[in-house]
Structure formats: structure tokens, C-alpha cells
């Protein structure tokens, strides 16, 4: 008899706890809808991490809206969005990934803007004494970290650059493909790769890697960072954020981090 009462008591306690939890969750959600600022979800290329975070903070102060960032390889993010991930804005490191979304009607051509550009650089660990006078010197390294050359923009650019010089076949066996461009940076910083090809903006942010060679403008492939709000996003703040990215305040931040801001459209 006592045992049945005991187990019934536990059942009651569990049910009450569950009900309480549900109530508080929906309450806070309801409350949140009114008390917290509207939040948007921004999927952005890994190389934008530092700059965009700063822009986001400034935007929140200015507008009261909040941007939650998901940084990663643009190819990965694009795939996630196409699979239904709830993004409000997509800021890609190349046009290919944005095109993929446009083809599926997830962004409108009229909403797209090419906002930024960047430069490719060859980096080595800060402690390394290696010199790279030209692209051919890459052959001296045993391991070259590059964001996956098959899909990630930074890698695709790097490959395109080296293919244009006829060096890709020779260097491909040394390439260590990484998840995204910041992972390539990390591989060089940890000295697990002897060299890497990343954006100048990534190298500038790092103390443990230094630039050994910079790909001059016009020598490498054109790098374009398009941004667009997603069609299915219901948040008004999404377009407001995209608009803010073109503001003088935002441009200053980007420039300071080493990006080239493209004027107009």
C-alpha cells in the first residue's frame, strides 16, 4: 500500500514540475516577444566574424534590434539555408553561393548587393622564418592549409588563382583542406600546417601568423562578398540590417578590419 502511494507521489511531483516548466517557458516567450528587441539571424562567411560582430553591436545600440550571427563556410551556410535553416540575412564570401540561393528563389536578385571585397594572402606561422617571394615558393612547403578548395569561397579563390598560374596540379598534393578559412588560419597558427592561403583580413587579425606574400589586386580572381535578406524572412529588421551595412559607420568598421568596401551596387 505504502509503495503505491510513494510511486503516485513521484508521478504527481513529476507532472507538476513539467507543467510548471511549460508554463514558465511559454510565459517567458510571450514576455520576450514584448520585452526583448527583435532578433534577426545572420548567416555570414567566417572571414567576416570579427568585423561583423562589431557592426552588429553598433547596430544594436543604434536601432535596438539584435543580430545573432552564425559564422561558417559560405558553402556550408548556403546548404543549410537551402535545407530550411531559419536565416534572415545571408552574407556570403562569393557570388556562387548567393547564386545558389537565388536559383531556388530564396533571395531576390533585386535585394542582392555586392558589398565588400578582400585580398588573398599566403601566411606562415609567426615563428617561421620562411620567405615567399612569389607563388612558386609555395612548392617549398609540405603542408598548405586552404579552406576546402572544392566549395568554400576562400579555397575556390585560392585554387582559381593557382590554376591561373598553372601551379595548381603541382601544389594540390600539399593542400590540407579545412572546414573554412578561419580553420585554415588556425592550422597555420598551431604550426600544424607550414603555410596557408587566407584573406588578408584574417591574417591581420592574427598574432601567431604573419603574411608572407600578398596577392596583388588584379592578379587573383575577383573577390566579391554579396549580402541579401532572405525572401521568407518575416522580420522587418532584416532589411534594416542590410541597409545599415551600407552606412558610413559600418563601412568604417569594415575598412578598419582590412576589407575593401565596394561603392554602390
Amino acid at each position: 500500500m505504502a509503495r503505491t502511494a510513494f510511486s503516485r507521489w513521484w508521478l504527481l511531483a513529476g507532472a507538476s514540475a513539467g507543467a510548471l516548466a511549460l508554463c514558465s517557458a511559454s510565459a517567458s516567450r510571450a514576455l520576450g516577444a514584448r520585452a526583448e528587441p527583435e532578433e534577426i539571424s545572420v548567416f555570414a562567411a567566417a572571414s567576416l566574424a570579427d568585423a561583423l560582430a562589431e557592426v552588429g553591436r553598433a547596430w544594436e545600440k543604434a536601432s535596438g534590434y539584435r543580430a545573432v550571427f552564425n559564422f561558417g563556410a559560405s558553402s556550408d551556410l548556403s546548404r543549410q539555408i537551402r535545407s530550411g535553416a531559419p536565416a534572415d540575412v545571408f552574407f556570403s564570401a562569393d557570388t556562387t553561393q548567393m547564386d545558389a540561393l537565388e536559383r531556388e528563389g530564396l533571395v531576390r536578385a533585386s535585394d542582392r548587393q555586392d558589398l565588400l571585397s578582400n585580398t588573398l594572402v599566403v601566411i606562415v606561422p609567426a615563428a617561421s622564418g620562411a620567405t615567399v617571394a612569389g607563388p612558386r615558393d609555395l612548392a617549398a612547403f609540405k603542408t598548405i592549409a586552404v579552406a576546402d578548395p572544392q566549395a568554400v569561397p576562400a579555397g575556390v579563390y585560392a585554387r582559381s588563382w593557382l590554376e591561373g598560374l598553372g601551379l595548381w596540379t603541382e601544389l594540390a598534393p600539399r593542400v590540407v583542406p579545412t572546414l573554412h578559412v578561419r580553420a585554415a588560419l588556425a592550422a597555420v597558427e598551431s604550426e600544424n600546417a607550414e603555410a596557408g592561403i587566407v584573406y588578408r583580413t584574417d591574417a591581420a587579425a592574427s598574432k601567431r601568423a604573419r603574411i608572407a606574400f600578398e596577392v596583388a589586386r588584379g592578379q587573383g580572381p575577383p573577390i566579391r562578398y554579396p549580402v541579401a535578406p532572405l525572401v521568407r524572412s518575416t522580420r522587418r529588421a532584416a532589411s534594416a540590417f542590410v541597409a545599415y551595412l551600407r552606412s558610413p559607420e559600418a563601412r568604417a568598421v569594415f575598412t578598419r578590419h582590412g576589407f575593401l568596401v565596394l561603392g554602390g551596387e
Binding site: 558553402s75 609540405k142 576546402d148 593542400v175 590540407v176 583542406p177 598551431s190 600544424n192 600546417a193
Partner: protein
């Protein structure tokens, strides 16, 4: 058998077949690598009751419950170029990170506890008095192991080996951290599935997943078969 092989080769590209071969070879290498140490550890855990045994058991079981990425991270910190050990190895021409050796190492570390567990159970099922008797009959410790423990435990041991092999074959988290996902150099089946999915080639990913499933099925079935047959001999 021959017809299914040609079917397989028409189902899989040449690169993919190489990936299968690479995965099987590295998994086998990893299993062989952990075999001597695993057997020793299993024997130690089965026979000895001393201080620190509990700590040893826990330590050896850690890779079983830790996230593989955590294990991979530890390996990376311990063997990366900047670590003392990694630097020393690199100085002697032994590159570990981002090579097939790292794949084997990651597989070995992750499947080690499985081998030890199965082998330990197999050894524990051998009556320790029999080993003592063998000693009184003139066997040294090694001879007693060879003539009594091993013949009685080999089935359970083999089941453990196959289990460890299967685990090695499916290893991902630690591998991707310390060996990277380099097509043609360190890409195993598990890594290839992930990569194909990343590149949007889900159909290829599914084919590889099916291959992995088939391999795992065969391996596990074999392990089960040995485990079932061993109960016959123990009841004597």
C-alpha cells in the same frame, strides 16, 4: 563474390573504392597496433587487485564516453607541431598531424577501450585457478598464458578485436581533428560521407553510407558469431 565485386566497382567510383580500401587498411592497422597493449591491459584488469586499479579502469574507458572531438583535441594538443612531443617527432622526420598516421592513431585511441573491455571479459571467464595449476605443472607465466588462458579466451578476444575494428572503421570526430579531411590522403569512409554532404553530393554520400553499413554489419555479425560459440567451451 566476384560478381558482387564488379557490381561494387560499377556502383563506386575509383576514388571511392580507394577510400574503402584506405578505411579498411587504416582500421586494420589501428586494430593491430592496439592489440598487444590492449591484451596486456585486459590481463592486468582481469587478474590484479591493487591500489589504483579503479583509476586505471576509468582512464582506459574514457575514450568510450568522451566526445570523439574532445579526444581528438587532446591528441592534437599532445602531438601537434607546437607540442614538445610533436616537435620532437617532426624533428626526426615523423610528421603525424594531417597524415594517414594520424588516422591510424585516432582510430587506435578510440577503439582501444572496446578491445580492452571485450578482452577483459574473455580473460575473466577463464578460471584463474587453472592458470595457477598450470604454474604448478611447470609453466612460467608466459607459457601459462599461451597454453591455458589464450586457448580458453581466444574466441572472446577475437570478438573484441572485430568490435574494435568496426569502431575504428566508423571513427570520425577524433580523426577529423587530428588528420583532417584530405581527399586521397586521410579521407576515410566516415569523413567522405561528411564531405560529400558538405559539397551537396548527397547521393554519393548515401552510397558510401550504405557501404559503411554493410561493412559494419558483417563485422558485428562475425563478432556475435564468435561470442556465441565461446560459451560452449567455458562450461567444461
Amino acid at each position: 563474390m566476384a560478381s558482387s565485386c564488379s557490381e561494387a566497382s560499377s556502383l563506386l567510383t575509383r576514388e571511392e573504392l580507394e577510400i574503402v580500401g584506405f578505411s579498411l587498411a587504416t582500421a586494420a592497422g589501428a586494430t593491430l597496433l592496439i592489440l598487444p597493449l590492449g591484451v596486456l591491459a585486459a590481463l592486468a584488469l582481469a587478474r590484479y587487485r591493487g591500489p589504483g586499479k579503479g583509476a586505471l579502469e576509468t582512464l582506459l574507458s574514457l575514450p568510450l564516453v568522451l566526445p570523439p572531438t574532445a579526444v581528438g583535441l587532446v591528441l592534437l594538443e599532445a602531438l601537434g607541431r607546437r607540442s614538445p612531443l610533436g616537435g620532437w617527432l617532426a624533428g626526426h622526420g615523423l610528421e603525424l598531424v594531417f597524415t594517414w598516421k594520424a588516422v591510424v592513431l585516432a582510430m587506435a585511441v578510440m577503439s582501444f577501450p572496446l578491445l580492452v573491455r571485450s578482452a577483459r571479459t574473455a580473460f575473466e571467464e577463464v578460471d584463474p585457478r587453472l592458470v595457477g595449476l598450470a604454474r604448478t605443472l611447470g609453466c612460467g607465466p608466459l607459457a601459462a598464458f599461451r597454453r591455458v588462458t589464450l586457448p580458453l579466451a581466444w574466441r572472446g578476444l577475437l570478438a573484441g578485436v572485430v568490435l574494435a575494428f568496426s569502431r575504428a572503421l566508423g571513427e570520425f570526430g577524433a580523426t577529423v581533428m587530428i588528420a583532417g579531411n584530405i581527399p586521397g590522403r586521410t579521407q576515410t569512409l566516415a569523413l567522405a560521407i561528411f564531405h560529400d554532404n558538405q559539397l551537396g553530393k548527397d547521393d554519393r554520400a548515401l552510397v558510401l553510407a550504405a557501404v559503411t553499413t554493410a561493412l559494419a554489419f558483417v563485422a558485428l555479425w562475425t563478432a556475435e558469431w564468435f561470442t556465441r560459440r565461446r560459451s560452449r567451451r567455458i562450461a567444461a
